[in-house]
């Protein structure tokens, strides 16, 4: 059996405001639903307006990872239903990302240099936060303070061969992001750093990818 690991890392960018509105991202010690406006609440009629610094931070990462910045990238809607998703779609560059084809160098398990290829980086907004009430109650509680927080999704090729390599990759990536001052490790807590393993465990001819990504219906233009 062979372990093959690719990663999708969601990095919360250290901007002062959310991706599409002027609400402050500094909500960690505050009460629920106190950093919200018509836009990040998805109130009818509100419109998104793109945070320039989030794009600059994304580009900074793209340059640092020696990526090809695309002439045109596009925000589009990823439609799906979930109670933490205020508009029933996420605005994301999923389809036409900010940049593609980069690299990060790490040490492999034998201590040799190894290149991990970066597939793409793109910007997207975070949904709100669900608190699942335990016990007999059968409902969720929602806090939309997180809704609209800018995320940079960094996707790698399946180039890692052990959990130790993946750990070294993440440490290196984190160091780079902190040096670039686009990521604030102190804010980490619940929300700073999320990683999804797209690891493939291959045995013989069978392979499995997990976890499944969240259901998406279809893309459509964001305006």
């Amino acid at each position: 059996m062979k372990t093959i690991i690719g990663l999708e890392v969601h990095v919360q960018l250290a901007t002062a405001t959310k991706l599409f509105c002027g609400c402050s991202t500094d909500y960690q010690d505050d009460n629920p639903n106190t950093h919200c406006c018509p836009t990040c609440l998805g109130l009818p009629g509100a419109l998104p307006c793109l945070n320039k610094r989030a794009v600059e931070y994304g580009l900074r990462v793209a340059k640092a990872l020696d990526m090809k910045v695309l002439e045109e990238s596009e925000f589009a809607r990823k439609n799906y239903f979930y109670p933490d998703l205020v508009k029933a779609y996420q605005i994301t560059q999923d389809d036409r990302p900010l940049a593609v084809e980069g690299t990060i160098e790490i040490e492999d398990d034998q201590g040799h240099e190894k290149i991990v290829r970066i597939t793409r980086v793109h910007l997207e907004e975070d949904p709100g936060r669900l608190v699942h009430v335990a016990g007999a109650s059968k409902y969720s509680l929602v806090d939309y303070n997180r809704s609209g927080i800018p995320l940079l999704e960094i996707v790698t090729e399946p180039d890692m061969r052990s959990p130790q390599e993946a750990r070294r990759f993440l440490n290196k990536l984190r160091t780079i992001l902190e040096y670039l001052e686009v990521f604030d490790g102190d804010r980490e807590g619940v929300c700073g750093w999320m990683q999804t393993y797209r690891s493939k465990v291959q045995s013989g001819s069978r392979s499995r990818t997990y976890p499944p990504t969240r259901a998406s219906r279809r893309p459509s233009p964001s305006r």
Partner: protein, 89 residues
């Protein structure tokens, strides 16, 4: 042609409830629309989709958020500053 099964599937994707007795009527109406939309088959695709859009940015400067009461005011039910939603688990 869209079948009644298609309609049920689409309604499911769109999370709109439809009752069994509505299915035939919606199927009929949707097929009539699709027939009318057949005219689009004759549109020749032009190769250059000019978007005609430009970058518009907002500076990263915080602006006041709504007071919590205003955020919660329209919600059907709330609890301790949270908005109540159906359970997803």
């Amino acid at each position: 042609m869209i079948t009644e099964k298609d309609i049920e599937h689409i309604a499911g994707l769109a999370d709109i409830g439809i009752s069994n007795d509505e299915v035939p009527e919606f199927t009929h109406q949707l097929n009539a629309i699709l027939e009318y939309l057949g005219i689009l088959d004759t549109v020749e695709d032009e190769s250059t989709p000019a978007s005609g859009t430009a970058n518009v940015f907002r500076e990263d400067e915080p602006r006041p958020s709504l007071p919590q009461e205003a955020v919660l005011a329209n919600a059907g039910s709330t609890e301790d500053g949270f908005i109540k939603a159906p359970r997803v688990m």
